[in-house]
Symmetry: C2
Subunit: 339 residues, 2 copies
């Protein structure tokens, strides 16, 4: 049997400023062959995440993707051949399979495949019940520690992690204000997601809007954005307010780091806490998050939204969409439907 | 009996940039009279603290000092007349008595006087065994939570709070690097205070010096300074590093807030925590800190240093010394010796 063709997006260069298609190179090679203890996986969906911009640029919490390597990415695929006893052909798995149509995955390695639970739609398994939801769950509840009745503000609230974090805060009994770009997203936040208020960060007076919606200040800020939005929230932090630094998408494409928030010292005045969070540290407890999130979804308290771009060749375009603020909910690239 | 004259420094205006003598006005009035439940106190020492610059400028964790009011200040004085059963004439007390020679203090109010324990020298009671030491104790141990063997960096390490925090970190079994301005202070840190290293923040390559002295990164940063020093330490934070924001003296005289640290996002990459701290929240547990600090002083593990300016009229000058980096240890103004 001849090996199928495997299209791959390789990292062509370190990005300068905003990511672009020229940062990647499309090649075609024969599909890889699974060795003993490995799986051959046909990718069905690619996960598109802001943190990938960091992986392209240099070493962070993971080593940088090397120039000429397949672009690193979470993905879901179907096992077409299993040479590992814990997996079987036909199973759906997720892992760091990269921007390619075929991947070899080795259980126990850094590309560690995990099975998608039966009955969970693939798109949900990649958003609210996947790393996105798990990020929101542990980041909000364990770092932010919201208490019932408190005011929680979420930036990037119409995005993948933000929309789940905002809804979890509602479940936790908080008043929740979402920050997003543009009237359409804001309407989505107060409409479909049922948040208590929304602020368009492109509006003329973000500080004034925040003061109106959070007259007692911000108890918990779940931040995906950084930059000026973080600065405004710092200036209106409540006593003992907590800031969960989950991401800083406004800054990922800066050629050099932008200045930080001028209002940082309000952390002293307000005895505030600002803490960074990366979901990879919590993966051993992912089951706890998925169980809770599944229950809330069944009860209709958490809604999932995905934004699907069709076609492997459009992966760079899908990544760019994140930084243009064009996605609503989790950005995915669909290569093929599950069988 | 005629009432003695009471010289007072009033706040004359909100400071513009660096504090100056023109921000204050010296007046002379008759000494106040203690009413029922009050004490008449003759001030002996004024405590000079960076946070006073904030009190002059506007509302922070305390309301701003009003224009025309006596400048707010911690002080130690002698009770000359007690009309409260818990105090007696001749006793030494400390409290928020202000920049004046005579004060009326009311137990239970915001100027709440507390007795200086017998046998403790006044200057020590205002530095290592006073609010300064209590700040260092709770800020370092409860916010920073250093573990034995970790690397602790302290900025403003030759100053009042910093020098005690650095020595407590040594007691806690840490490697301790102090940051201060100029070779004399750095020699004091590695000599008299026995720190493991010192960095002159005015030197040509602070980042390089920090990298050399902290090759595994910074586990705990006790920051009194803010600004560029904070930015450099952020860029070299160790995994799960903690930053105690105790002060930001480099920024207190800014006419408008300076930009914050460009490396703030390393809190995400390193899962770092940055937390503000104000000692007033811990006063109910002050005894615990004073007991521990007294013990360490007796054992010679913590040394106290005060920098005394003589003369009530020099209070504004003493405050300015802080922002010029001229003080070594706790800055005090001495009005008179205890009897």
């Amino acid at each position: 049997m001849s090996r199928p063709a495997n299209r791959q997006w390789l990292l062509a260069r370190r990005p300068q400023g905003l990511v672009s298609a020229e940062d990647f190179r499309l090649v075609e090679t024969p599909a890889p062959v699974a060795g003993d203890g490995e799986l051959l996986v046909r990718n069905l969906y690619l996960s598109v995440d802001p943190t990938q911009r960091g992986w392209m640029a240099g070493d962070t919490y993971l080593p940088a993707v090397k120039i000429g390597e397949v672009m690193r990415s979470f993905a879901v695929g179907e096992v077409t051949e299993s040479r590992h006893p814990a997996f079987r052909a036909g199973q759906l798995v997720q892992g760091l399979f990269g921007w390619q149509e075929w991947a070899v995955a080795r259980p126990g390695s850094s590309s560690a495949p995990t099975a998608i639970p039966p009955g969970v739609p693939v798109e949900t398994a990649m958003s609210a019940l996947g790393l996105t939801g798990i990020t929101a769950y542990f980041g909000l509840l364990e770092v932010g520690r919201p208490k019932p009745g408190e005011t929680v503000v979420v930036s990037g609230a119409a995005g993948a992690t933000g929309s789940v974090a905002a809804q979890i805060a509602r479940v936790a009994g908080c008043r929740v204000i979402g920050i997003a770009g543009g009237p359409e997203k804001c309407a989505y936040l107060t409409g479909e997601l049922g948040l208590d208020g929304a602020i368009d960060y492109r509006g003329p007076d973000v500080a004034g809007a925040l003061r109106t919606l959070c007259p007692k200040g911000v108890d918990v800020f779940f931040d995906n954005v950084g930059g000026p939005v973080l600065d405004v929230v710092l200036s209106q932090l409540a006593l003992r307010g907590r800031i969960v630094l989950c991401g800083g998408i406004s800054q990922y494409n800066d050629a050099r780091p932008s200045p930080g928030p001028a209002n940082l010292m309000s952390l002293i005045v307000k005895r505030g806490r600002m803490e960074g969070f990366i979901v990879l540290d919590s993966l051993s407890r992912a089951g706890e998050a998925v169980t809770a999130l599944s229950g809330w979804m069944r009860e209709g308290r958490i809604r999932d939204r995905v934004d699907v771009v069709e076609g492997f060749e459009r992966a760079p375009e899908a990544l760019l969409r994140l930084f243009q603020g064009r996605n609503l909910g989790k950005q995915l690239v669909k290569l093929a439907a599950p069988r």
